[in-house]
């Protein structure tokens, strides 16, 4: 539903494959001929098997000096000692083996390393920088002949052009970027920039950066690369994207692994409508497949769910602004899902919310804003059915339920919820549009914080 970071391996692979297709007219020189390989060693696959297979598929691995580094969407790998240069395959295997599954902490996130990229080691002198960023009115393309890890320090040497959406990329528009390059490389790098831009547009990239790329025997060669795709365009780029994005779910989980020890609250929200002020953030190591397919394939409705804490170590938003209303995101439905969809969705949320009871109180917030068109009674029917199914689990996890909702048929929906509370004997409070969501959250927090 938005911009998705993709692995370095995929960025390079997409560029290599599609440059060839897209720039036949530009020139042969813009084609990339680098080999690369991604080794994903997970689960029961042993390192040895993996490498043997890999070498069969990619014979260049055993005949080339290699570079290996984790390929998991985090940066500063060099500074963390996670990049090794000029190794042979055995050394690469050893390097991977030593680091596979090792927890690293990056910007407060901790997770084991699971994926590496292996590529040829390329001795080089010149390091160029190229980035393309999509903005509202066009694209910003930046180029520098002083790329590499010192790019921040040399930012004044970066040349930038803004290409408006309605304008095509031409040699003239590209000229200011490469004007100062020596003649013998100017044409080649100009073609490469135009080629990279063509790939960027054709595959709906929203961000692309090569820092650095170099020339090997006069041919452009990206050494490090980052990319972001606009996954709303997946329907246009179906074949290209499926592979990248599916593979990526595992990577995104790394991003979402946080260790919050702010407090011991367990707050789950089932919100309807976009209540940005109130979204709980969760985390999980397991993607919810059933939900995923439900969300993406079958319905025009929007059902979003991100689990941030698999063990129910939850945080609260007793934040920096006093009692800040601001809870994080986690689960949201909108766009009028039907009862069956909500039922399945609620089952997933409730399973997560009631997992691993620890004797402490938990709170479940159901509802959200005043719906524009989502039928509250119908969606609540689905939630009521799920709550009934999970009655014992709810009781075991000492769940307190808070409901707040407005919109079509909300009176009926709220009445059903009230009746359900009495029927199940679970603490359940119900509010309509007259109460604010923020107030309800405060109550939920108070309830959980009380020692009883």
């Amino acid at each position: 539903m938005a911009r998705k970071k993709i692995r370095e391996y995929d960025s390079k692979r997409l560029l290599k494959e599609h440059l060839k297709r897209l720039v036949a007219s530009i020139s042969r020189s813009a084609q990339l001929r680098f080999p690369l390989s991604s080794s994903s060693t997970l689960g029961s696959v042993t390192e040895a098997t993996d490498f043997a297979e890999l070498t069969n598929k990619e014979p260049w691995l055993s005949s080339t000096r290699l570079v290996v580094k984790p390929d998991m969407l985090f940066g500063k790998r060099g500074k963390s000692g996670l990049v090794a240069l000029n190794l042979d395959l055995a050394q690469v295997a050893e390097f991977v083996k030593a680091r596979l599954g090792v927890e690293v902490e990056m910007g407060g996130c901790k997770a084991p390393i699971t994926t590496f990229i292996v590529e040829p080691f390329v001795p080089h002198d010149q390091e160029y920088y190229l980035s393309i960023v999509s903005d509202r009115l066009g694209c910003t393309i930046s180029f520098s002949e002083c790329g590499g890890i010192e790019i921040e320090e040399n930012w004044d040497k970066v040349k930038t052009i803004n290409l408006p959406t309605e304008k095509p990329m031409t040699p003239e528009t590209c000229a200011p970027l490469i004007a100062t390059l020596p003649l013998e490389v100017r044409g080649k790098i100009g073609d490469f920039i135009k080629g990279a831009f063509a790939v960027f547009q054709d595959l709906d990239f929203s961000f692309l950066e090569m820092n650095p790329f170099t020339l090997v025997n006069g041919e452009p060669y990206p050494l490090d690369m980052r990319g972001e795709l606009d996954d709303t365009a997946a329907f246009k780029n179906f074949k290209t994207y499926t592979f990248v994005i599916l593979k990526n779910t595992q990577v995104r989980n790394f991003q979402l692994l946080h260790t919050f020890r702010v407090s011991y609250l367990y707050i789950v929200m089932l919100t309807g409508g976009a209540i940005l002020s109130f979204r709980c953030l969760w985390k999980s190591t397991k993607p919810h497949r059933g939900l995923h397919s439900l969300v993406d394939e079958k319905t025009s409705a929007s059902l979003k769910f991100t689990v941030l804490n698999p063990k129910g170590r939850i945080w609260t938003m007793v934040g920096d602004l006093g009692y800040a209303s601001e809870l994080g995101n986690y689960a949201e439905y909108s766009g009028a899902p039907n009862e069956e969809e909500v039922l399945q969705y609620a089952r997933v949320v409730l399973d997560c919310a009631t997992a691993d009871p620890d004797g402490r109180k938990r709170a479940l917030l159901i509802g959200g804003g005043i719906a524009n068109f989502t039928d509250v009674a119908a969606t609540f029917n689905g939630i009521v059915r799920a709550l009934k199914e999970k009655e014992s689990k709810l009781k075991a996890s000492r769940m307190h339920i808070y409901v707040r909702r407005g919109g079509p048929n909300y009176q009926t929906g709220l009445a059903r919820m009230r009746a359900l509370g009495e029927e199940l004997g679970i603490p359940l409070e119900v509010y309509g549009p007259e109460a604010t969501m923020t107030g309800i959250c405060k109550q939920a927090i108070d309830c959980i914080m009380s020692t009883a």
Binding site: R136, L137, D230, A233, G369
Partner: protein, 608 residues
Amino acid sequence: MATGQLFSRTTQALFYNYKQLPIQRMLDFDFLCGRETPSVAGIINPGSEGFQKLFFGQEEIAIPVHSSIEAASAAHPTADVFINFASFRSAAASSMAALKQPTIRVVAIIAEGVPEADTKQLIAYARSNNKVVIGPATVGGIQAGAFKIGDTAGTIDNIIQSKLYRPGSVGFVSKSGGMSNELYNTIARVTDGIYEGIAIGGDVFPGSTLSDHVLRFNNIPQVKMVVVLGELGGRDEYSLVEALKQGKINKPVVAWVSGTCARLFKSEVQFGHAGAKSGGEMESAQAKNQALSEAGAVVPTSYEAFETAIKETFEKLHEEGKITPVKEVAPPQIPEDLNTAIKSGKVRAPTHIISTISDDRGEEPCYAGVPMSSIVEQGYGVGDVISLLWFKRSLPRYCTHFIEICIMLCADHGPCVSGAHNTIVTARAGKDLVSSLVSGLLTIGPRFGGAIDDAARYFKDAYDRGLTAYEFVEDMKKKGIRVPGIGHRIKRGDNRDKRVELLQRFARTHFPSVKYMEYAVEVETYTLSKSNNLVLNVDGAIGSLFLDLLAGSGMFTKQEIDEIVQIGYLNGLFVLARSIGLIGHTFDQKRLKQPLYRHPWEDVLYTK
């Protein structure tokens, strides 16, 4: 952008991709506001044309449906708003087509998930052609008392509660459609209400931005203050900060950027909207709130304090005498939809149709209460299905087997019988399957194929009244009625119809009683004594044996048997069976590519 009013009480829209509910809600809003014309002039539903019936208050109106954007724009030159309910796959292309119509000024895109690059094309085109794009990923917007886009502001109850049926003094713009509804309520509580509210949508690159609309509100004299609800992610709010700093906005602005919680998450987290990604300090809610506050906007300390901030700003304007008092009007009552009223238990309505044989509402269709899975899994045949759908009960296997034998025997009787002949002639005239089939079926009647029912009726009547074969046949003769089920064009007493023999053998083996058949045989014995061709034919055999089936199975009451014979069930059996053959003849002729049939002159006696 900038300039002022987008909508008025006479604004009309074209609605792309027919959706009954949002359009009805727009029309209900129109009625509530006392608009004279409906706000939807035309509907575009690719591939269909005609009219859609909708309510405008108590009355039903017909809104024209067009198959293309161009046709709709040409037919409704005064409609200048395009409301696009296309899916995310096709929203960009249809929006671009709409922007290219000279009559269209504003395009609202509802779909979530339009690719960024496509939206950028729309933005570029709209900018250079001075048009306005609202969305994608939005519910739309509303000008109180004048015009409403699609589902904006939700139900009628909510619209009344938020006083959106008449203009107030507050201009409101938010990213989120859901939150805008929340704020319409809040603003109605603490001010004289909304003048105009826009939800720009949650995408990274919205078609029009928060500041675009704030600057527009600044040019609308009736808007006295502006409320802005932003969210983390993106830098849209900074263009508003710039506009405030440059003194381009001279009305009070109350603003809140939600998502301050994101700071607690150390890495990037995607919130509900594509644009709400918490990356970078500049894009954080805190930074934006602070920048807005420093630029002169009224920024509360938290979302809860937002309401108070709006209230205080409004009261200050009120004290300064800058607010023109709103003339309160009582909105008319919207007639409740029958379905809603039924659902809430307020009214009841009689049904128009009653059905007892099948039900398709559950997990799987049921025939007379038997689910499709049992029918398939238990190896039922066509005879069982007939027994369920025609007789509403599961008959024993010998009965359903008998029904199947009847169908097989009656499926076809060659190309020369009148039904097949008609079908062949029709098929050769180039008509379709159904026409060819029914032209054959329409031949079935008292002289062709209709004898089974009559045979059953007369045999039953005679047997039940205890008439001897002699009395029955002579009685019929007196009345001038040929005994149905007796007589054959070719078959003779010494050359019986094979089909009749098969039926009789089956029945003697499986039926508990064959009294009606024995009676028919007695009748045949008598008629054969009169003429050698008066044999029991297949109609007579089926008719009499069916009586035995009904009576002998013990599953029908006397009244039920009378009714079955009366209604014409047995004719149904013949129609069903013969359809198989008639369909075969149609296919046969078509496969053989036979030309139009013309009866030869030589074969007609032309006479005076």
